[in-house]
């Protein structure tokens, strides 16, 4: 039987954002998103955990080279989002509300094409030490 193992890489970035639905009135945005809707933005230190699951390679003993995973996250995630305004500075959130949920989905989609198809992947994203999301659920 082939034994599956999960490997994890923990990275971090920080960014400004605002939760706002342009299809709604300011009053409704305030009612739903509260202080997260501040027009001049607020921000977070995001902690990102990328989990890759698969059978370790017979030759290397690796599920995935974690240095390669780290480089991939830096290229695809860090360079796009670190010290940025998610609403204003990124293509990915031009039309998507940058909630932790949506950021996790976007990061998954950015990384997935670069991870071997026979490996499973999951994103855990901490918006604060007390609020975090996982995708896929």
């Amino acid at each position: 039987m082939q034994k599956k193992v999960s490997v994890f890489r923990h990275e971090h970035f920080n960014a400004a954002h605002r939760l706002y639905n342009p299809a709604w009135t300011d009053e409704k945005n305030d009612a739903v998103f509260g202080k997260c809707n501040n027009p001049s933005f607020h921000g977070h230190n995001y902690e990102l955990v990328v989990k890759v699951t698969g059978v370790p390679d017979a030759a290397t003993g690796y599920v995935m080279d974690l240095k390669m995973l780290s480089d991939l996250i830096h290229r695809e995630v860090h360079d796009r989002f670190d010290h940025k305004n998610l609403n204003l500075d990124t293509e990915e959130f031009k039309n998507i509300n940058p909630t932790a949920e949506n950021i996790a989905i976007v990061i998954y989609e950015l990384l997935r094409p670069h991870i071997d198809a026979d490996k499973e992947m999951q994103i855990r994203l901490y918006e604060t030490p007390r609020n975090f999301v996982e995708y896929p659920a």
Partner: protein, 136 residues
């Protein structure tokens, strides 16, 4: 003498940018922290007070009152805000962690009773960067 610390959290957007400098000089000095459209942090704030224990209460100071002072004079002004734009007591100052810690001290010190002294404002900008200010 007893030291008592209250830990609070807030998050905010900011940028490091000196308006008297050119964009190029800001970029050279502050790098990605000068990003025009801001970035942001989860801040952890440690407020330490010092004094003698009251014999009747066993308290240095009622921590609920300390928490309320921090909430009114600091957190409600900073949490989910843009430090450069939204905060009256940071106006005209560079929004570095150093200056923010000093400003938080100035916000709190006048509101403590005579027998309680502010000892330290310790402010984490990230899990790996923090400053301490002792009012000196």
């Amino acid at each position: 003498m007893v030291y008592l610390t209250r830990l609070e959290h807030f998050n905010a957007a900011h940028k490091l940018y000196n308006p008297n400098w050119t964009p190029e000089k800001n970029e050279a000095m502050f790098g990605k922290c000068a990003n025009e459209n801001w970035h942001g942090h989860n801040y952890d704030l440690f407020v330490t007070i010092k004094g003698q224990v009251n014999e009747d209460t066993g308290f240095l100071f009622d921590v609920k009152k300390l928490s309320e002072l921090i909430k009114v004079h600091v957190l409600e002004k900073l949490d989910h805000k843009n430090l450069n734009i939204d905060v009256d007591f940071m106006r005209g100052k560079m929004c570095s962690t150093e200056n923010l810690a000093k400003a938080i001290w100035e916000q709190l010190a006048p509101h403590l009773p005579e027998e309680v002294k502010l000892h330290c404002i310790k402010l984490y900008e990230t899990a790996r960067i923090y400053v301490e200010y002792f009012g000196e």
